[in-house]
């Protein structure tokens, strides 16, 4: 059976080159037609906030890049429901369709993978 990857994103956007580099690593696995899931936790969920316009801060937009997750058949884009709630974010207003997982179900969900990678 092919190995299932999960990438866990906990850092907010605009964390320097890290954002693009974490996406490169996720997509590298996806490019091999592997089963790849991404989990946004804690401040990582801020990546999914709609309406980000960092141009006036002199920063590059990252949200469009994240949309390539869908293009390359990343299997599941999951977020933790509590992480959204704590930040007053609504799942249906995010920039990508996501699967919401309750905090209590996170350990079992992660345990269903063969390779876990922290992306900061």
């Amino acid at each position: 059976m092919p190995k299932r990857f999960v990438f866990v994103v906990r850092q907010p956007p605009y964390s320097g080159a890290r954002n693009a580099e974490m996406l490169d690593q996720i997509l590298a696995a996806a490019a091999f037609d592997l089963a790849v899931d991404v989990l946004f936790l804690d401040d990582g969920v801020w990546h999914l906030q709609s309406g980000q316009s960092p141009q006036n801060a002199g920063l590059r937009r990252f949200a469009p890049m994240l949309q390539t997750l869908e293009l390359y058949d990343v299997r599941e884009i999951a977020v933790e429901a509590e992480s959204l709630e704590e930040r007053a974010l609504a799942a249906e207003k995010l920039i990508l369709p996501v699967r919401c997982l309750a905090r209590i179900d996170i350990p079992d969900w992660i345990a269903g993978h063969e390779i876990a990678v922290s992306c900061g």
């Binding site: 490169d24 690593q25 590298a28 592997l34």
Partner: protein, 123 residues
């Protein structure tokens, strides 16, 4: 067991690279295999050679370890390019400490598929 190790931090900013180094030594001492040490994010800075000697220099320790155990130390090319450690004009490994080479995420994925365990040091 077969390990893939990812080093994500510069040796000058955090302890994580040193921890990874200690872990690899212990894993080898316990009879495990290290398929690949992949340097990513600021971890590519482990391949920089300091311009002066004297301070404890992890890159020298990495070199010795790579030589002693014939380990494969790969820097992600785009992470290295972003930090000025690889040129954009050709495969130029000359600015790297001996023992390190330029490679890509494809090698990391490949090694992960063959490995029993994947560990990262420094997020």
């Amino acid at each position: 067991m077969k390990f893939v190790i990812q080093i994500n931090a510069s040796p000058r900013e955090a302890q994580a690279a040193n921890t990874g180094y200690q872990f690899i030594k212990a894993a080898l001492a316990n009879g495990h295999d290290i398929l690949l040490v992949f340097f990513y994010y600021d971890g590519v800075c482990n391949a920089q050679v300091p311009a002066f000697a004297g301070e404890d220099d992890l890159s020298a320790h990495w070199c010795a370890l790579a030589r002693a155990h014939a380990l494969d130390f790969v820097l992600c090319v785009s992470a290295a390019q972003r930090r000025g450690l690889a040129s954009c004009e050709g495969a130029d490994d000359r600015r790297l400490a001996p023992g390190f080479r330029i490679g890509g995420l494809g090698q990391w994925v490949d090694a992960c598929l063959k490995a029993d365990r994947i560990l990262a040091f420094g997020v």
